[in-house]
């Protein structure tokens, strides 16, 4: 073998060796992609047997994704340019894993028409990892940039930079928004940025930046900017950027839109100034104090009202100015207000305050609570305090006048009662002795007649006294009904008996109709019903000359209970329209006949009307001249079953009871009835006395009469309910002889819990007391419960 052949052979051997031993995978494919040769490195890389590689297609050695890349990118590029460089692909390994490789290839013509593709494959695991990390880093960077942008947008803050060398300015998107510039544009040069500011602010901004650049420090300025037709305010902070060597290379900073912040602050300051002005100028004291009463703020009006300078009182306790006697009650009212949690409902507290010079003024406070941040707890009070000394004086004068007026009415009624008593004693002699004379002078008709005249005149005078006394009692609201079971038919029969002689003398008939249709007994004030009927029938007999008088009785069952209707028809001259209108007025004398009739007091029908109304009824007349007259009245009848209701059985509990009644007999009776049950009883002699007593001690129950001198039971109840520190919630039972739903409602609306009928029946009283003493202490006054309990009580006791 010559040298050349040897060299060639050597070269061929070296080339084959080189191919085989090359540290990258080498593959030669034909133009269909069939592998013709593959070196050891390739077999190692893929873990495939060299024999298995023979005739395999390069495409089948790639992962599915890489095969597409090969077909779509590598093959066309090879066909076009003859080479590809560093295409990243994945090889399918024998163990099912894949291997990242970089593929470079070149096509070269070979013998015949075939084109061979020489492929080199380098393992690219490290590089692939690096690429993935880079990708991740880029994604994160983008994310951070988005967050920054969002944060800037939310905070209305942008960031910017200024390169000293180039004069370039970089803006974050939010800066564009703040300056009202188009984000697509490049940021303007520094001079143009400054030109965006209000002309008066430009030099200041420039100087701030220049001095920072000069001494390498930082700067802050606030400048107005013109954005369309709106003026905004920006606050700019900047700091110098330095090169590693320390020399200043530029500025970096943030820029913030503070327009709204500044405007709000200005508004707040203005409104604070306004309120301060209001508080300072107000005639009322405006004050803030904490729950212990320590004053945090007090307006200058305190000087006018209490004589102190505001500074004298700030830090001191409100107890220092509230009158000693009113401190506890006032604090109690505020505490109750805090506990109530019903803060929307305004509180009004009246107390006496002491002026610096010692004199006492009346103050009225309207506190509103200052709540903690959660809005759940009161931490302080803001209070508006007004000087009501004048108002209070007027009110006191009015109250005094009312007390005096009541006392005067009481004195008048008492005077009439006394007078009647004084008149009755001599009348007893006149009537009694004249009757005695009449009876003893049986033989002497003249003297007998004279005696009878004295007797009749005395009777007339007595009737007059009774009418006046009744009228005065009715006017003073002192007349109370005395309800008891009685027969209406008996009452009518009795009236007929009484007047039959008089009617017989005139030749009149006197009849009763409908008595059979009545219930045997009804719950009525028999005496008063008798009085009304006697008056109506007496008038009818008096004014009728021919014919007769008929009393019609009927009882009808209505949904709300029974009603009694009584009518008295006569065949007298009748009454004109004008007469009817005045008929029931007091002291009116309606001429009901052609004859000159003997007149009475003119009180009779007025008293009838008031009595019927007291019985919750109505009275009226139907008549026309020449057609007789029909007087009628209708009254509701309470349910008789109420009398027989079973007693309530509630556990007995002794308690402190206040009895408020002006009648000694009633209070004695109540005390005697209640004492044996271990109750501790105090007595007050009128409403005013009752209110006073209720302010001295706590009670478990108050029994309250309605008609009382000085202050009646309604007013006393209202007073106790509204302001009494001990007894505002105490059960109050009204005692009244005037029955009926209207009276019950009046009791309840005055704040009473129930009503007890007079005359008091011992079992009813004890039941009601036991029932109400068992209402748990401290139970808030609940009107619905009160009504329920009241109706129960009424049922048991009526």
């Amino acid at each position: 073998m010559d040298l050349k052949a040897a060299v060639r052979a050597g070269e061929a051997a070296t080339s084959a060796e080189l191919f085989e031993l090359s540290p990258c995978g080498l593959v030669v494919c034909d133009d269909a992609g069939r592998i013709i040769r593959a070196n050891a490195s390739f077999c190692e890389m893929t873990g495939l047997d060299p024999a298995a590689l023979k005739e395999a297609n390069i495409g089948s050695l790639l992962t599915r994704a890489s095969f597409f890349i090969y077909k779509a990118r590598v093959a066309p590029q090879l066909a076009l340019t003859g080479s590809v460089q560093e295409v990243s692909l994945d090889l399918k390994l024998a163990d099912g894993q894949s291997l990242a490789v970089l593929l470079s290839a070149r096509q070269a013509p070979a013998e015949g028409a075939t084109v061979l593709t020489h492929i080199a494959l380098f393992p690219a695991r490290e590089r692939r990892l690096f690429e993935q990390e880079q990708l991740k880093a880029r994604r994160e960077l983008r994310q951070y940039r988005d967050y920054l942008q969002m944060a800037e947008k939310l905070a209305n803050v942008g960031h910017w930079s200024y390169a000293l060398a180039t004069g370039d300015i970089q803006w974050s998107p939010e800066v564009y928004v703040i300056y009202g510039q188009d984000p697509q544009m490049k940021a303007p040069p520094l001079n143009d940025v400054v030109a965006l500011y209000h002309p008066d602010d430009r030099d200041m901004a420039r100087q701030a930046m220049d001095s920072a650049l000069a001494d390498g420090g930082s700067f802050t300025y606030r400048a107005r900017i013109v954005r369309g037709d709106d003026i905004g305010i920006v606050q700019v902070h900047g700091i110098c950027e330095r090169a590693p060597g320390g020399e200043v290379t530029g500025l970096f900073g943030i820029c913030r839109d503070v327009t709204n912040f500044i405007r709000n602050q200005e508004r707040l300051e203005q409104s604070e100034a306004r309120y301060r002005l209001l508080a300072d100028e107000s005639n009322d004291i405006i004050t803030i104090f904490d729950l212990s009463g320590c004053i945090e703020y007090i307006s200058p009006a305190v000087k006018k009202i209490l004589g102190y300078e505001p500074d004298d009182l700030v830090g001191r306790n409100v107890r220092d100015v509230i009158h000693r006697d009113d401190c506890d009650a006032t604090f109690a009212a505020y505490s109750a207000y805090v506990r109530n949690k019903n803060w929307d409902e305004g509180l009004r507290v009246r107390y006496r305050a002491v002026h610096k010079d010692g004199h006492v003024i009346w103050a009225e406070a309207h506190p509103s609570p200052i709540l903690d941040e959660a809005g759940e707890r009161v931490v302080a009070f803001q209070d508006v305090v007004r000087d009501i000394s004048h108002q209070k004086a007027t009110e006191d004068a009015l109250a005094q006048a009312s007390i005096e007026a009541n006392a005067a009415a009481e004195a008048k009624a008492q005077f009439l009662a006394n007078m009647s008593h004084e008149l009755r004693t001599p009348l007893t002699s006149i009537i009694g002795f004249s009757a005695l004379l009449r009876d003893l002078l049986a033989g002497n008709d003249d003297l007998r007649r004279h005696s009878q005249r004295i007797h009749s005149a005395g009777q007339g005078l007595l009737n007059l006294i009774n009418d006046i006394l009744d009228h005065s009692k009715l006017e003073a609201g002192q007349l109370e009904l005395d309800l008891a079971p009685a027969s209406v038919a008996d009452i009518a029969a009795d009236v007929v008996d009484l007047l039959s002689l008089q009617a017989g003398n005139k030749g009149l008939t006197l009849t009763v109709e409908g008595a059979d249709g009545l219930a045997p007994q009804a719950l009525i004030d028999d005496g008063r019903l008798h009085q009304v009927l006697l008056n109506l029938v007496g008038n009818a007999v008096k004014f009728t000359e021919t014919g007769g008088v008929t009393i019609s009785l009927s009882q009808s069952r209505l949904p709300d209970g029974d009603r009694l209707r009584v009518s008295v028809r006569d065949t007298g001259p009748g009454i004109s329209e004008a007469g009817k209108a005045r008929l029931f007025e007091r002291f009116s004398q309606v001429d009901r006949s052609a004859h000159d009739m003997p007149g009475g007091t003119g009180l009779g029908l007025s008293i009838c009307k008031q009595l019927v109304e007291l019985m919750s009824g109505t009275i009226g007349v139907n008549s026309a001249p020449g057609e007789g007259a029909e007087f009628w009245f209708e009254i509701p009848l309470p349910d008789m079953n109420l009398l027989h209701a079973a007693p309530v059985t509630v556990p007995h509990r002794p308690g402190r009871i206040l009895v408020v009644d002006d009648q000694d007999a009633v209070t004695d009776l109540l005390v005697n009835l209640l004492t044996p049950y271990g109750h501790d009883i105090d007595v007050a002699i009128n409403g005013y006395d009752g209110v006073q007593a209720s302010q001295r001690a706590p009670y478990d129950l108050i029994l309250m009469d309605i008609n009382m001198p000085v202050m009646d039971g309604f007013a006393a109840t209202r007073s106790i309910r509204s302001g009494c520190p001990f007894n505002a919630d105490v059960p109050i039972l009204g005692l009244t002889a005037a029955g009926g739903e209207a009276r019950l409602q009046a009791c309840l609306s005055a704040g009473m819990n129930a009503m007890l009928a007079k005359p008091v029946m011992p079992s009813a009283l004890l039941n009601a007391v036991a029932l109400w003493l068992n209402v748990p202490a401290g139970t808030a006054f609940d009107p619905t419960a009160a009504i329920r309990m009241a109706s129960e009580t009424k049922y048991k006791t009526a």
């Binding site: 002795f433 009795d494 005697n672």
Partner: protein, 142 residues
């Protein structure tokens, strides 16, 4: 013939005491007058009345006080008492009833009514009252 019933009239007004005494005398009663509570209390023991007519307004101790004393004295506590009063206040009447009075008649009184009430108080047989006598039921008006 049975012994006449004895009635003690406790009344400070001499006219009225006299009037009542005459009326009762005509009706067949034996009467004795007392013008105050102490005299009355003494006479209860001496006169031993079957019934007492009692005024409320007396000088010194009043009618209530007398009534209380009477009811607290064992031999006399069952003697029935009829209040004779010009006062119309229901309170007074309730008070008298609660102290043990049996009934009351308001002054000025009707003769028939008074006699009927006394007879009834004493538990004597009386005729069915006439309308006039019965009116007391309807209250204290004449």
């Amino acid at each position: 013939m049975t012994e006449p019933r004895r009635i003690l009239v406790v009344e400070d007004n001499p006219d009225i005491a006299e009037l009542v005494a005459i009326r009762l005398g005509l009706a067949g009663y034996n009467t004795c007058k007392a013008k105050d509570a102490d005299t009355a209390m003494r006479l209860v023991g001496e006169f031993k009345p079957h019934g007492i007519l009692l005024d409320i307004g007396l000088p010194g101790r009043d009618g209530f006080s007398f009534l209380q004393g009477l009811k607290a004295t064992v031999p006399y506590q069952n003697i029935p008492v009829l209040m004779l009063t010009a006062r119309q206040a229901m309170g007074d009447i309730q008070m008298a009833m609660s102290l043990g009075a049996k009934d009351y008649v308001a002054k000025p009184f009707d003769d028939h009514k008074l006699l009927f009430r006394i007879a009834r108080m004493l538990g004597d047989q009386v005729a069915k009252p006439t309308a006039k006598e019965r009116t007391y039921v309807w209250g204290n008006r004449s």
